[in-house]
Symmetry: C2
Subunit: 305 residues, 2 copies
Amino acid sequence: MNASPAAVAWIAVDWGTTNLRAWAMAGDRVLDASARPLGMGALKREEFEPALLETVGGWLSDGRTVPVVACGMVGARQGWAEAPYVDTPSRPLDAARFVRVATADRRIAVTIIHGMCQIDPADVMRGEETQLAGLLALEPGFSGTACLPGTHSKWATLGRDRVAGFRTFMTGEIFALLSEQSILRHSVGDASEPDEGAFAEAVTESASAPGALAAWLFSTRAQGLLGTLRPAEALARISGLLVGMEVCAMRAAWIERPLVLIGAPALCGLYARALTLLGARPPALIDAERCTLAGLAAARRLLAG
Amino acid sequence: MNASPAAVAWIAVDWGTTNLRAWAMAGDRVLDASARPLGMGALKREEFEPALLETVGGWLSDGRTVPVVACGMVGARQGWAEAPYVDTPSRPLDAARFVRVATADRRIAVTIIHGMCQIDPADVMRGEETQLAGLLALEPGFSGTACLPGTHSKWATLGRDRVAGFRTFMTGEIFALLSEQSILRHSVGDASEPDEGAFAEAVTESASAPGALAAWLFSTRAQGLLGTLRPAEALARISGLLVGMEVCAMRAAWIERPLVLIGAPALCGLYARALTLLGARPPALIDAERCTLAGLAAARRLLAG
């Protein structure tokens, strides 16, 4: 793919903590894509504009201003410009709360999408509100639960085009800490592919007594020491215990309600397995990037309209 | 304190992963104490004897052999000499399973105490079996539960002079990872003293839905971002959520059964608070070092007798 600047109607940007990803768009159609490891976490305020220009410069031409619509951590307090949270319940996108950022380069007109927050239980999201808007654009009238597995998994309840509420689980981050930095790293070794049988067993175990998580985890170490557990099984146990606990805690959100998983296929596959093991119907899966793009396009329409 | 070599009948040693602690003993009486940061984790096999001599050398004299009784990670596979696990149920000390280590220096005669294991749920301990033997020496006939809070908290069920079973919770290690290395470190800041009110609230919250741990944790971060939580409260919340979950999972082990806490006073205080908040009677507290010494003395008597 290679977009001629004349064909680029607008630019979609997903700007997270570690990566900046951009798409040259014509309506809902992707003309070109570009990505840089220039996440918000590594940038000072004055470095955002140069980072964006480095990524999308090839799609710009002199004398013409292209709208750029960005979601994600770029709108955090430590980002380019703070785009305050919209409180739940609310539609996922509220154009009145988007933030326009002034740029030195007049070829771009940058708008940053707000995040969402919830007061009780306290919770926040940035970027996922755009994916939820994308889900509602792809599945108009969707009413049910959306689960977005990841470093910080989100579970959002949707209905009447609104986000009723949501909860975030630090499951992915805890998994990384435990498997890479805790005593359990010795049992995991250099395993990278979790064992499917051990994953299923751990999901069931964790769901039977979720409060004993810290004990199930140590038991994984003990099984390693007593010589009855292979590294791929240890890795799968840590993952299964944590995912099982999360899925089990959210039972009310998926039992007899439509559930859609939004995320990377491999991770969604793990969640789908845990869900069906615990009695859910097989959930629908939607690719995360597809939702992000649909959500950014919806934001673009709100701006244009 | 300063022990004359002639008065030292034997030497008690608690040799963990990070520290080596030794006591010059006459019967059950402590004549002198010595400690070095020469834990098993930092030593190659041939470095154990020099580390011990550096620590206890002042208590030795030529022409006389002093018995040294050691417990802890020194007996692990990566330690000085492997002292295999004794399976539960069992008395906490089994002299037939102690391991004699040959030394070049003939002034010491070193014995290492075995660890304990359990097959289902898989679990292991090293050092705590000696503290449990100490508890039984200090409280003959004790029947109930002993909780040893720490990096890896142990809960052991005792009766008829035996350890019936036990479970280990990685609570302390998970607390350290979350408060120092996860995204929650931003909410904790440089707080070191947890807020008491926030601790109590988090214990109750966690006990109400232990499976939602990863969500309660993220909610702590969100409260920080939304500006409603001070660092000392964030620290207390992480601690309260984890300790609450552990105490709640072990309810069957303390409800209407005698419970004793063995450990450092501050940490035991936290556990005692969580226990009483969740409906336990105030537990008895015994200092960890007192139990270790009583247990090593019991091991010494088994060897001598």
